[in-house]
Amino acid sequence: MRKNIKSQASLEFLTTYAWAFLVIMITIGALYYFGVFDFSKILPQRCFFSSQFECLDFVILENEVRVKLYNNIGEDIRIKNFQITNDASNPLDCETLQLPGPLEYSIPDLPGLLDYEWGYGTDLNVSFKDCSEGGLSIGERIEAKISMVFCSSATPSCPEHTTSGKMASIVN
């Protein structure tokens, strides 16, 4: 009997306020449909790297990611590896790396192959080409994570360090 009273109260609550829940859900649905919750085009496009490698500019294209970095670390370095990915369920995958020269490398083959000299106080245009997955479709806002392995040119044993950066932009 006690159980019945309890269930009656919850049923009465639902029948009384179901219309309010329905109105709220329809309102939220309508707002979503009209793009009120879509902030992707309004949020700023940004690129973060450590202060040692300042990100001067960047662009994400339909099948390419370009980034311009500045060597602010205080010495010449040798780049040993560059990788790009993101947090999408099918992560961003680029096949080719282009460095000034122009030099092109197959990204999976980079470890042990790449040894690019980058002078202190200079810019470096890095281009990741033949990119796919990761939500790369024009007009969509995506994030990309770049990691770079480098060592000091002045140190003969070349102990490797890794730095990483992140960019968020609309695919152009």
């Binding site: 700023p44 500019d57 662009v59």
Partner: protein
């Protein structure tokens, strides 16, 4: 037998409810129809003017106007908040609600003179304001006092980075037609 009688009683109650209150439903429907016809249910006129380009380009809603003219249909003042000088390479203006309206964006190339965005790009110094204008074919047919929404797309690149870093920025303008 018992359940059949109970079922009949239930349906009778429902039928009585409908016959008793049908006039009220009808009245409500007619009222909603009348309100919709008279535009009371169209809140766009009540919405405030707005102009949004995100933080990189600021747009003053008091410095934008849409005229029901073919020339200078849209005029907005935009400020460069990128923190560096950029070159505008292209701009597009779309009115998604009125597909017949075709707009051509222009910039103030010299004071008081408007022209197409130069092929080599239009220099926009950091912190400076520019007037972006659009001539719209079919603009003269726009109805005064109605709200209109323009979607804008500006292609630009930072002068220090170069044309290889051309990006797009999106904005929207909603205001009353003058």
């Amino acid at each position: 037998m018992k359940s059949k009688i109970q079922f009949s009683k239930k349906s009778q109650a429902a039928l009585e409810f409908l016959t008793t209150y049908a006039w009220a439903f009808l009245l409500i429907l007619i009222m909603v129809g009348a309100l919709a016809y008279l535009g009371v249910l169209s809140p766009t006129k009540l919405l405030p003017d707005r102009c949004n380009f995100g933080s990189e380009i600021s747009c003053n809603k008091d410095k934008m106007v849409v005229n029901n003219l073919d020339d200078f249909t849209l005029n907005i003042t935009l400020k460069n908040n990128f923190g560096s000088t950029v070159k505008i390479t292209d701009a597009t203006t779309i009115v998604s609600d009125i597909t017949t309206l075709t707009c051509t964006p222009q910039v103030e190339t010299t004071p008081g003179v408007y022209g197409d965005i130069p092929a080599a790009g239009y220099d926009w110094v950091t912190g400076n304001e520019i007037i972006l204008s659009a001539d719209c074919v079919g603009g003269a047919a726009l109805i005064e006092d109605e709200k209109i929404k323009f979607d804008l797309e500006v292609s630009y690149y930072s002068q220090s980075a170069g044309a290889g870093y051309t990006k797009k920025i999106f904005g929207e303008v909603m205001t009353s037609i003058q």
